[in-house]
Amino acid sequence: MAPFLGLLRRDLRLSLRQGGEMGLVLGFFVMAVVLFPFGVGPEPELLSRIGPGIIWVAALLAAVISLDRLFAADHADGSLDLIALSPLPLEAAVLAKATAHWLTTGLPLTVLAPLLAVFVDLDPAAIPVLMLGLLIGSPVLSLFGTIAAALTIGARRPGVLVSLLVLPLYLPPLIFGAGAVEASMTADSGHADLLLLGALTLAALPLAPLAAAAALRQALE
């Protein structure tokens, strides 16, 4: 447990000390949402209809942006080899990195969501479902993201490649997360979508670190 927490603390400290990075991701999130009214027109009815989708897509893109730096910096200065050699299992190390990524990306995005709900004129009753969905679903984004980031260590143009790889994997949380909000807005219940989102997270928790650790081992060979 101690090595896991140690790695988690190290990653959090690194990203908080370079505070700009977290701010950049959140800034991108806000900017992406703000772009849409300029593209589709400012009518409130239209925006509130497509609002949940906009916020979720922007959250996905913001998560993707920070992914390629997940392992790249550690690989460049050799810490990744040290982490692989440590007594901490590589899967646990991946889980620690995914947790750090979620704490610095997914969680702040969730907290920022009500502000963006105002920009897209979202029905206030739907905001709790939006936040709950983002809270449950953003760990999936971080977990799948570690797989893509681990696969692209040492690649040419890792940033674009990570996006191409990970966006098909991001479709299920997007569908269920945005679907939950839309279901709750049409006087249906978002329960089914949220439960499925939870199932995705629970399935990704053990499986994604397995795949990412295998990818890391291949990268470090």
């Binding site: 040492g154 040419r156 790889l165 479709l171 569908i175 269920f176 499925l196």
Partner: protein, 261 residues
């Protein structure tokens, strides 16, 4: 048979002997299938002559799905048993699968225009095939993104396995999404039950496409192995001592064995 064909030299001999037969069988199957499907089969009572696109569209859809599972299987074999030709097969198959998917999407579009009045509709099946196309593109991009070819092969095999595990999840969620958003639609969700006069040419076309894939796969694998040989020979010509030193390392043993074969 897998272990017997694991030796690249033996694979080249066996595939070289089999290739003319494969090609011939492909030509015959496709010739019979195309003539029967496009000229001799009856027009549909509702769709008229444009139903004939189905004879290209459905076999390519079957191949698109099947090739992805084949790539996943080959990747599994490559990772678990380190079969030397498994990742060659997977990488050779990927552009073929992507091409089948593209043909499926394009012919589907061409079929949809007269049938539904639109080039594209976000139907569950079309969306799943589009996502499959992006999975293929991602695999091809990843494998080619590394200067070291073996690193690309290893990364690609993991991605293929992740993709095949995620594919049912993606399909389920796209189905879910589609049933929630289904507008009042004129689309029949299934086809009509198909008559034997159309089923037989369809099966022949499917067989022809399968044989075409097998022929092209063997051709691409032989090309890839020849490229490897050529690269090793070029390296040897430039720096014989370094290549021989590298040969003594187990990882380069396969390349050396292939050169001497």
């Amino acid at each position: 048979m897998m272990t017997r064909l694991a030796n690249p030299a033996r694979f080249m001999r066996v595939s070289g002997a089999a290739l003319p037969w494969l090609g011939g069988a492909t030509a015959i199957a496709l010739a019979i299938g195309l003539v029967w499907a496009l000229l001799l089969s009856p027009p549909d009572y509702q769709q008229g002559e444009s139903v004939r696109i189905m004879f290209i569209h459905v076999p390519s859809a079957v191949m698109a799905e099947g090739v992805y599972y084949l790539i996943a299987l080959a990747s599994f074999v490559a990772l678990v048993w380190r079969h030397p030709l498994a990742d060659v097969a997977a990488q050779a198959a990927a552009p073929l699968g992507a091409a089948f998917t593209l043909v499926c999407l394009a012919t589907g579009s061409l079929w949809g225009r007269p049938m539904w009045g639109t080039w594209w509709v976000w139907d569950a099946r079309l969306t799943s095939v589009l996502v499959l196309f992006f999975l293929y593109l991602g695999y091809i991009a990843l494998v080619n993104a590394f200067d070291d070819a073996s690193r690309g092969a290893r990364a690609g095999s993991i991605l293929a396995l992740v993709g095949v595990v995620d594919l049912p999840i993606i399909k389920f969620s796209v189905d879910w999404w589609n049933t929630l958003h289904q507008p009042a639609s004129i689309l029949r969700t299934g086809g009509p039950t198909i008559d034997a006069s159309m089923l037989v040419p369809l099966l022949i076309m499917a067989l022809g496409f399968g044989l075409l894939f097998a022929t092209l796969l063997v051709l691409r694998m032989r090309t890839a192995l020849n490229e490897r040989k050529a690269r090793a020979l070029r390296l040897y010509a430039v720096e014989p001592r370094a290549t021989e030193a590298a040969e003594r390392l187990p990882a380069a043993g396969a390349a050396a064995r292939m050169r001497r074969a």
